[in-house]
């Protein structure tokens, strides 16, 4: 039996809230990676130098370890993680290969301007198995970028440097305005890192990648000032629903 609509009553439009666009972007990317076979691992935002740097082959002389780049807490006994990579270290110490982890969340660096904030978000992933190659890493990166930006997007791989991957690469996409924009960093896990996690680097190899969520969100939503995300302005937030 159908109920007739009361024609004298206007539609009751109840305001719906919205997910924060950064969390929405993070969830979208993580769900995509879960569909590829990755498993989520979580870790603390307050880390030790051992997990944030040493285990990742970031040497004492690396600029990232300086007081002007990293926030240290509790008389330098701990620090605010500068990337989500230590979560993967914890994951590799816990489980044996083959393993495929992703971690996402807040990270902290001592920066503050129109394009950098002291707190931002990353999603990182790692896959360790026998015979993992750079050619396979490229396959994964193509899948991620095509899912995010469509299969028409033009991308390029550039050699780069991260202490925890070797070879390392940065990936750029070509914007509609014809400008190359850096999207993510990736590489084959440095065997030193595998050995640090008690994984036999003669038998296993791995690939790793990391994306800055704010950067992707800015591109996807057309936001030009990163600070807009964190003003909690309802005029801004209400646009993302």
């Amino acid at each position: 039996m159908s109920v007739d609509k009361d024609i004298s009553l206007p539609e009751l439009i109840k305001d719906r809230g919205s997910l924060h666009p950064i969390n929405h972007m993070k969830d979208s990317i993580m769900n995509l990676l879960i569909s590829f076979g990755f498993e989520i691992v979580d870790g603390p935002e307050i880390e030790t130098e051992e997990f944030n740097f040493d285990m990742l082959n970031i040497k004492k002389s690396h600029p990232a370890r300086q007081m002007h780049d990293t926030f240290y807490v509790e008389n330098k006994s701990n620090l605010l993680r500068t990337h989500t990579s230590p979560v993967q270290i914890r994951g590799m110490l816990e489980k044996k290969p083959p393993l495929a982890f992703i971690s996402g969340g807040k990270v902290y660096r001592k920066d503050d301007d129109a394009t950098h904030l002291p707190m931002f978000h990353q999603v990182e992933g790692i896959y360790v198995d026998e015979n993992v190659s750079f050619a396979q890493l490229k396959d994964l990166i193509y899948k991620i970028i095509y899912s995010l930006f469509g299969e028409d997007v033009e991308l390029r791989f550039r050699p780069s440097y991260f202490p925890f991957t070797e070879p390392s690469a940065e990936v750029d996409i070509l914007s509609k305005e014809g400008k190359w924009l850096e999207i993510l960093g990736c590489g084959l896990v440095n065997p030193v890192v595998l050995e640090n996690c008690n994984i036999d680097s003669n038998k296993y190899s791995g690939l790793a990648f990391g994306l800055g969520i704010e950067r992707i969100a800015m591109l996807k939503h057309g936001v030009t000032d990163i600070r807009e995300f964190y003003k909690s302005n309802l005029d801004f937030l209400s646009q993302f629903k």
Binding site: L19, G37, M67, V73, R156, L188, G222
Partner: protein, 635 residues
Amino acid sequence: MKIAYSHLVQYILENPSIEQISNSLFQLGHEHEIDNGIFDMEFTPNRGDCLSLEGLLRDLRVFYTINRKDDTYQEDISHLSMDFENLSKNACPQISFLKLEIDKLPLSYSGGLKDYFADLSLKRNNFFTDVSNYLSYEMGQPTHCYDAEKINSRLTFQEIEGDYEFESLLGKKVFLKEKNAVFLQNNEVINLAGVMGGMGTACTDKTKSVIVECAFFNPESIIGKSVKYDIQSEAAHKFERGVDPECHDKVLRRFIKIVGNHSVIKNLSLVTHNYKSNPRHQILIDVKKINKIIGVDINKEDYINYLLKLGFDVEEKFINIPSHRSDVRTQNDLAEEIARVIGYDNIPVSELKIPKNTSQNRNVIENKIRSFLLDKGFYEVINSPFVNVSAKNCIKVDNPLDSNREYLRTNITKSLLDNLLFNERRQKDSVKLFEISDIYSSDNGIKKDRRLAVIASGRVGLNYQDFSSKVSKKYLLNLFKEGFPEQSFNFIVLPRDELDTKIKSEILSLETDIENFSDSILKYNAKSKPPNDFIQYKAISELPSSFKDISYSIKNYSKVDELQDLILNFKHLILKNVFIFDYFKNEKQSEIKIGFRFVFQSNDQTLTTAQIENVLNDIIERSLKLSGIEIPGLK
């Protein structure tokens, strides 16, 4: 680092265009921008060896024929007897001093020295410093020039600890603290090693006798000093990334040659201290391993050729690593070298198959809480954890950005309160926010709590049912009962007494651990779904908004829909929002009254009454064309 295209191309036989060199540099991993014939290079921190004209040409040899021969002083050089003591040999395992006296200062420069200053639009300083700077550009090794007449007693290199004052050669007073590698004369710091020399012993435009210091400093002794003391230093940039420990003789002989090209050299002497020999590094030739790492199938001949072009040597079963490549030590490092030559974009893709993950998403409860709150009109926010107020068990940041961000917050509510007041100041009369975040405290070690915090004040909602109702404890308890029937919540009224606001609405807040939520929320059937597409953001306005209300009287009930459609779908650049805030049905008089609220705001100007009325008149005119609709009291 800026390197001129013309300086590079003069040594490349193929005479490539600037675009061709640019493409080659990108393939090799050397990011840059081009401005008026100058490459503004941004090298990765492991490639300190490329921070020079010579270094970059070494890498470009992969693609081009480089025709550059060493042009150095070839005669014997007498021994320099110099009173020097190295008390920190680990920080400086190699150092040379060259003493050189010239007849006359040159009036003009020639060759590469001239081009360097002209093409890169650089300001000259004094002759010896200019040669030193040019040499750093050409060969990558920083040198430091002391006026020889000012070095008249023992020179000591030492890592010192404690407070020292130092005046840089640019006249900046620097107060050294903690551990620093320095050169001392008469117990005074005359040079912050690897960063910048001092004013007291610097060369001037009259200096004709110079002592040139050429050293290898351990990067760990130099790192961070230029930032710490706010001294812009290209030398520090190079030393931090590692220079070639075996280049001193060649560099100083090149120094002599350039000076000799500009003046008559009267006296020349050199002393070299090698406190520690540099180990030779070799890697076993293993083409199979390299192919496995990259996922290609290159043969041994190509492998060897690629590495030879990059300046590596082959010795029987091994690849010899040149002294300037401190970044190459493993098979993976060699794989990267080979991959750079092939070109990352030319490496074929090989399908990656990861076994299906069967583990459950850990955040299922948290996601349900989010969905529930979105359904109820709450907006999610993310706040910085840095605050200016200390609290019990809070964590202090050792090196905060500023005193306003010295501690980590121990609660989310204060951040949400700031967010609420921010929005109230922007004329928002209905604010409902939430945040889910980790909160850290120091209590017998670092403690982490995952928390949800909610804040709400003002109108319950911007619709005719909720417009007149204000957020209250009762409202929130009823609301939460729907999602969490088995749980009780302690909503708190936050006093407005000490807040900088004239608004009187009650502020309600809740902060609770996520672990307090039971699985019952999983039964909640969420209505809100995140948008499938990524919405294009429209710039928001910081200018004041204005609102106008129009109340319609409708006798013909069937026109309600039409009026609603017309008004809610009306678009105008300055009309930011419209909603029905009032509805009343008078059965006796067969009349419906509907009130619409129109919110106006411009992105670039404060709106005048006339601008708003223009839009309103348009709306009124269109709506009154519908039969049976009136605006009571309209003149």
